[in-house]
């Protein structure tokens, strides 16, 4: 294999053809325009938008973020512009600039998810990622991603109303990862993405034992990487659809680890905050690595990475 041929690092997720397997994770990349200062965003495989709801949301009160050791706890509460505003204002920018994107959507009820799915369908949105971690108001404030029956109902109903690529994003805060993954696949998901942030809490106690500052939210960043790798490894053998892995990826080596345990593509989240040009750099590094190691296609590399495993 010649070094001169540009390796093929494209990957298919459902009907979505990604030019490369490096995506940016929901909530950590806005709607792409903010990162225009740091790179040519259209180089990335795709960006995943901030979670979009039917109506705009103002999110949670402060404090919303807290750095912990190698991690970040966030409690943003899904502040977003709402689906209509996204379509009116953000979508044209993405299209005009040839930025491939995946729409991350969230709802407080199955009906709400269905309604957003219909809007996506009629607006020719190509790919949707279902964020399951909002509380499910109807079934007594459980989260959708924790209960097999609700998850099946949600995924299959969205599936009925949206016939393009559907990704289901799973949380690791569950008793049986493989059951949730199988349920999503059975419900009609084209791919699984995982992991979402991990439930966490921080409390700062000051000397006089007064005025504690606390935050309950989702933990992300490199401290969750061992949990994410385990999660993906556990579900890989139970499903046939592709997996988009994420959780603490902050360098090229991390990305390879996700491929090794079962991912077909990856998302970069919190590390965008640390290194705003990371996803762009990873695309370059992946190309170079493939050339150095004489790989013609990503599929070959991934096969070798999984081989000894």
């Amino acid at each position: 294999m010649s070094n001169l041929i540009k390796p093929d690092i494209s990957v298919n997720i459902g009907r979505l053809k990604l030019k490369n397997p490096i995506l940016t994770a929901s909530g950590t990349f806005g709607y792409a325009d903010e990162y225009d200062d740091f790179m040519n965003v259209s180089n990335i495989g795709a960006i995943v938008t901030k979670g979009i709801t039917l109506n705009p949301k103002t999110g949670n009160p402060q404090p919303r973020i807290k750095e912990v050791k190698n991690g970040l706890i966030n409690s943003i509460g899904l502040e977003n512009v709402g689906i209509q505003d996204f379509i009116d204002k953000k979508l044209p920018v993405l299209k005009e600039n040839n930025i491939d994107f995946i729409l991350n959507i969230a709802g407080a009820s199955i009906e709400e998810y269905i309604e957003i799915a219909k809007i996506c369908q009629s607006n020719n949105i190509e790919t949707v990622e279902l964020n399951l971690s909002c509380p499910n108001v109807k079934s007594g404030c459980l989260e959708f991603g924790k209960d097999e029956k609700t998850l099946y109902k949600l995924v299959s109903e969205v599936r009925k109303n949206f016939d393009n690529t559907l990704i289901v994003k799973l949380s690791s805060n569950v008793s049986f990862p493989e059951k949730m993954a199988k349920t999503a696949e059975k419900g009609g998901a084209d791919a699984i993405s995982a992991i979402n942030t991990v439930k966490a809490m921080n409390i700062d106690i000051n000397k006089n034992l007064k005025g504690f500052k606390s935050i309950k939210g989702g933990l992300s960043g490199s401290c969750i990487k061992p949990l994410a790798l385990n999660f993906i490894y556990e579900i890989r053998q139970h499903i046939a659809i592709p997996i988009i892995g994420m959780g603490g990826i902050s360098c090229f080596q991390d990305m390879l680890e996700f491929f090794a345990v079962g991912a077909d593509a990856v998302q970069i989240g919190t590390a965008n905050f640390t290194h705003p040009d990371l996803s762009d750099t990873l695309v370059i590094e992946l190309n170079n690595f493939m050339k150095q190691q004489n790989y013609g296609s990503l599929a070959e590399l991934v096969r070798d990475l999984r081989y000894e495993y």
């Binding site: 750095e67 905050f273 705003p276």
Partner: protein
């Protein structure tokens, strides 16, 4: 909207340290060499510095620019600022910026009030107003004296009386306003101080611009971690301090509730 697709205009820049000097017990001034930041930075804007293996960058106001270099003035608080204080001439740092929106510069008699390390952006603003020949007075308040080098036009207030007037800002502000008769006030510092400035100025019907602070995660406007409620006619809306600010008009901030 056509995006720029121009690469890395805000960094990450690998930037050389020109000097790192102590201004007081816990306050330091770092000077970095970087033409792009030095040319583009406006008073009130900030840079975000990668601090060793800390997950999040730390934001610091640009405190001055001189030719191809820029300065920050920082107070050692935790790991990040401890790392900054360990930087030596010739070493380098990974910096993005300038970020955010700076102060609006108007040809009005201005009163500049910096408290604590809030002196940093005010110091930069003062230099720019000076260069533009805009009339202004600079009030620098701190617990103990922070020697920024500026002395002309500067009223110094220190709580411990180590320089200038002894006491706190609220013991002196009204008198200063009455003397200076400013048409505009710029301020940066701890929230209670900025709230006091803002509410006092309101009584005198003087418009205020305040540079706010809060923990940042992304510092680029994508995470919604730093939002503040801003008065917008009869309702309140969320604005991002890092992207929509850090400078806001004093009268649009809800100073009463915790910011």
């Amino acid at each position: 909207m056509q995006l720029k697709t121009q690469n890395k205009i805000k960094g990450p820049h690998i930037v050389e340290v020109l000097s790192n000097i102590k201004l007081s017990d816990d306050t330091w001034k770092l000077t970095f060499q970087n033409q792009e930041i030095a040319e583009n930075a406006k008073p009130g804007q900030f840079v975000s510095i990668l601090c060793e293996d800390l997950l999040l960058r730390r934001p610091f106001s640009v405190a001055n620019t001189i030719n191809n270099s820029f300065e920050i003035i920082y107070k050692v608080k935790g790991k990040g600022t401890k790392y900054l204080s360990s930087l030596r001439n010739g070493e380098s740092a990974d910096i993005i910026g300038p970020m955010g929106n700076g102060f609006t510069i108007e040809n009005k008699n201005s009163l500049l009030i910096g408290c604590g390390v809030g002196i940093a952006p005010i110091n930069f603003l003062s230099n720019i107003l000076e260069k533009s020949g805009i009339k202004h007075s600079f009030v620098a308040c701190s617990q103990t004296f922070i020697n920024t080098g500026i002395t002309e036009n500067q009223v110094i207030i220190t709580e411990d009386g180590s320089a200038g007037l002894e006491g706190r800002l609220d013991q002196h502000l009204k008198k200063i306003i009455n003397e200076v008769k400013p048409e505009k006030i710029y301020t940066c510092g701890p929230n209670p101080a900025m709230a006091y400035v803002s509410l006092t100025a309101e009584k005198y019907e003087i418009s205020v611009e305040a540079a706010l602070e809060r923990d940042f995660a992304c510092g680029t406007g994508v995470c919604m971690g730093c939002v503040i409620q801003i008065k917008d006619n009869n309702k309140t809306i969320n604005k991002r301090i890092c992207k929509d600010g850090p400078v806001f008009r004093g009268n649009e901030v809800l100073w009463q509730c915790p910011i």
